[in-house]
Point group: D2
Chain length 367, copies 4
């Protein structure tokens, strides 16, 4: 499918280049009967919008979404939901067709396709992620009906990390920790002055997901989310639960011990508890009913103001100064993209899982 | 597809439980005309075999593979390649049907499916990975025709890591570094004595892959490998190139600078060079012709000899002592599984990529 | 995927309802480097357009297509090609929300989804096929590069069939036979006067397709085209080559005998010939290099002007007079839809087939 | 996927050649908790078995199935069900590697793959359908839990057709009509004497399927079944309901009129009735709750005893006498294959349809 479709039962396909007429997403397989209006999508898109933070590109992308199909009288109809976002404020003169920008996909696209839409990275632009956010908004509306919630935030910028997240705190960096925010803001300001950029980590948590979600073997919950999140251009790593630290633990330490609170032993007496959640809520690729969480590593923005060495498409050594408007750090804007991809993954796995056992199938079938 | 099929053009499906009659894999989409014999598969399977190392379970799994279809007169025919591995030396009395072993999928399978094959983890057993290795062996044979090679090794055990890999070194831990091996072997011995287990990291490198492999957006090369590798039961994280360290770098440091060696400027004069490979050989999800590499985090073996607290399927608190034969560390045996999954991913992306541009299509088409 | 995506390597997804804001198609997997302009699409769309023939609905659907992505400087870029067709001239007052129109999907949609967009059949409207034609136009451009052509025509209307097709003949019924056209036009006029409708058959031929296209077993060439063509709302049957007549033949009659023309025996001396083509150019699901052909049965238009008995959504017996503007016969407009679906099927199978043998793969790979 | 996998949620993959070690099927996505034993599969396989009828090949294929995975204590576990059928009584000396048999896929396989397993048609052999029947048996067990039944029979042989099917009648031709059977048996005997073969039609009915099954647009119920049934080697056509006769009807005749029996008007008062079922139980690709039925056209067996003209792989004209043991008519044995493919299609569409509306999803989800 050439890579622009994700998901089997709840699927998203995205299309569009950064400097074409528009970008968009089509969600297929969303169940009928879910309330969905433009503003549900817009709210999430606004969280990705540039031009509002001192640490983001001053480029104006209004990103107004329009639902073109798949809803009727305010509800999803079960048919494909097509969402369109027109491109505006394009300055294609900022881009040159010859130079291969360091850290970008200019060179690899030329080699794969023979040529490329060189205006603003075209299809490989971060702009493509707006379409994912639109699709993720639909997934989040569906998950909300089931009580499932997905929430991501900036976990670290450079070497400054959140220690105690407090979600009442809001700021331009989406970093729910006052101290960390202040330090990170300073780092960001320095990077901006130096015409350089910063990377960081995004933490994502999935709340209230019931046990039993995720398909064994190749579609394990971690595997599907890993594909989803590593498909975001700037993400270079992912780790669930204790993640890479797990590699340094003993089994006796890492194993999450399940127990029944003293007064509640027995199957009818309520929820199983765990002494730890090193696995991040997933065993054998299937959720156990506790919170799922993972961290994603985001590389520093490739486009920086400094003059850099590189080559051009004639394979000559050149000096390149990228004159466009760029984000010194992409992490705060990528938070909602990670959230969207996690929501899309979970929505799909929930629908795939409806057929896991014949009792569930019968319950759904005999209406 | 309920998760047991991976790949679109070059696909593998696996089946089988650890204590059923057999396990197996079916590879569909392997091009016709590739030399393939049982021993090509067997060689890779033997690298996964338990019972040979002092650090692995003494359980005997002979894992003799039999190709049942898809080859004729020693060559692949383009039709599905079915491979069967009979199960032997099963001691199902080692397993109990009631207890939920910590760190295992017993609990989640019961909740998803209503019941489970409780003998030796059934479908969620590490034994399932033997079928992946069989499929990976076919992928490696195909890649060999194109000159592409995939090689994985034990990068770290606990907190002991390889510093300068020397591939002439072979040992039970698949750790190509004498000093690291000695330290890690000691750690492993200690864990074994303590009836505990260890985790570690696996490094995987893909050599001689041409530029242009990987599909943009959702099927980026990193995304597909991430799904493949995170679908291995014990793997909890993956990172490409500089990985999580990238999150702490500046863009000016992280960007890989391309250049032409002084004497070779110009398109006809040979290979583009890079000053670094922080991206791990992938930009915009597409290979650039340099070596692709990633690290996978492997959690410590969940089955340990120590008595542990847990619950049973009546939701009662119990003490559990697992009496089976288990690996104090799984990393050395998982190396070839990671290699297999990477090979399967690359084989599939190469075939998917044949249609990227119309010139390639014409070259293939007009024969 | 909820059914709105077709194809694996060359795929189309369609979206949109007859009376929503727009309809559209996204083609993913089209190779880069193919010339493609709006008018290439428009030309095919115009062949489907209503309002031009005396035998079609006078409803005006301008169906102006706009390519929003996937092309650059007049050529495909290998990225998704999004095409948009705005809906105009919608008179939703023509439709009522309660009645179940005979022969339509009103009842089945209500039962499947719980409610429906009742305006003009919504997603189940024939209007959805305009998006397929747009996608088919892209497929035809790709096929043209390879020299492959797909052509469909009206084979019969009611009981009047073409005997000797002459493609220099053009008429409102797309029926390339003067005598048959005159008779059929009369039938059509009668049906129109009687506020009734007519069905018919469409013949489709695929020319210049090389041997070797089609995947064995479940993706046989006939199987994929059958899915594609039976997915058109009004089509109720398909038959390849001798089709249902084959069921009445002896094997000695049906078998297509291959031979070498007298002067050309031997592999280097040119094309294999056949004494007949009862198989319609496909053996074992794979093309043999001769013309592929099939017939599709099209039911009479369900919407007729006569008052009909039916029920409403309260399950009451009612009389229904459908007041909208409808086609007395849909066959002539469906011709291009069949052609589009056949082109999409063949384009996908050609791309899938690039990996059939390792020599082809090597030829494509080592560029 | 190279064509050997069918289905999205309930999928089957088949593998194996007629003269290799074995053939088999893997069913993935079958819900857990369904009773399934070897004999459930065997019963269906025996209906396909050759060597029992005077009109079928005397070749002995015992076709003993062995379930290797996916069941535990007599029930499906939700994991892949692998079924193996060993090949026996292979006489590969009956086959030659050079000649292209008329009506067979020898020539097309050679052109597609470069060479082929020439023993007994290899992968393109009708023997592959035994694996489908095994998969279909699993689908039928699942459908039985939901009360859905699929039944096929020989509708016609040559020009002799069933007029009033009486299912208490059983015979070697699976033709539930005494008169028709007697005539057809005579035809078959004549064909056998003449070393010739016969084709025919198979009727298939799906009973007790609820309304709402089938996905709109490309996965319409007819489209999926059409792919499934046209993927059977000998089938060249399919038609639903009135089929090709619909093409000759007026809309006023073809439209199926729904009504409520006099005493039952109103939604709570029971089943909607129809005056006809020309659509074969499907509208807009979705079932309406009435019986679904279709006819498939089966070409005469390609292998006949008569000496035929053909070419060989050096492109020389030759005379060929096929010496193997063959069926003078394949229709009676293909009946159960059609039934299996229909069952697999319906099982998959039922599972896909579980997510159609959010109320169904909630019912399945909140357990």
């Amino acid at each position: 499918m050439a890579g622009s479709i994700f998901g089997k039962q709840f699927s998203i396909s995205t299309w569009g280049e950064s400097h074409g007429k528009a970008i968009g997403a089509v969600v297929d397989g969303c169940p009928a009967g879910i309330l969905l209006e433009n503003e549900d999508i817009q709210k999430l898109l606004d969280r990705r919008k540039p031009g509002v933070s001192p640490f983001a590109t001053p480029r104006k992308e209004e990103d107004i979404v329009d639902i073109l199909s798949g809803t009727f009288e305010g509800k999803t109809t079960g048919t494909p939901i097509s969402m369109l976002i027109k491109n505006r404020d394009q300055r294609s003169e900022d881009y040159d067709r010859e130079s291969y920008r360091p850290g970008h996909a200019d060179y690899t696209y030329d080699l794969k396709y023979g040529f490329r839409d060189y205006r603003g990275a075209g299809r490989s632009s971060g702009r493509e992620t707006a379409a994912r956010v639109a699709g993720g908004a639909v997934a989040k509306k569906f998950l909300a009906v089931l009580g499932v919630d997905v929430r991501a935030y900036t976990y670290s910028i450079g070497n400054v990390a959140v220690t105690n997240p407090d979600f009442s705190i809001t700021n331009h960096l989406n970093m729910p920790d006052e101290t960390a925010y202040n330090q990170a803001a300073q780092l960001a300001e320095q990077a901006k002055q130096a015409e350089d950029s910063l990377g960081g980590e995004i933490m994502c948590e999935i709340f209230n997901i019931p046990a039993g979600i995720g398909e064994p073997v190749f579609s394990k919950l971690e595997a599907i989310i890993a594909q989803a999140v590593l498909s975001i251009g700037a993400v270079k790593g992912i780790a669930f639960g204790a993640g890479f630290d797990a590699a340094k633990m003993n089994g006796s330490k890492h194993n999450d011990i399940m127990y029944m609170p003293a007064c509640r032993t027995g199957r009818e007496n309520g929820a199983v508890k765990k002494r730890s959640n090193n696995a991040g809520g997933v065993y054998g690729g299937i959720s156990d009913g506790s919170t799922i969480f993972f961290k994603a590593a985001v590389k520093p923005t490739s486009s920086i103001g400094q003059t850099q060495d590189t080559i051009n498409n004639r394979h000559e050594n050149i000096k390149l100064t990228i004159s466009g408007r760029h984000d010194p750090l992409i992490v705060p804007r990528a938070v909602v993209v990670v959230e969207a991809m996690a929501a899309l993954s979970i929505a799909d796995l929930i629908l795939q899982g409806l057929s896991a056992n014949v009792e569930t199938v019968k319950r759904a079938f005999f209406r």
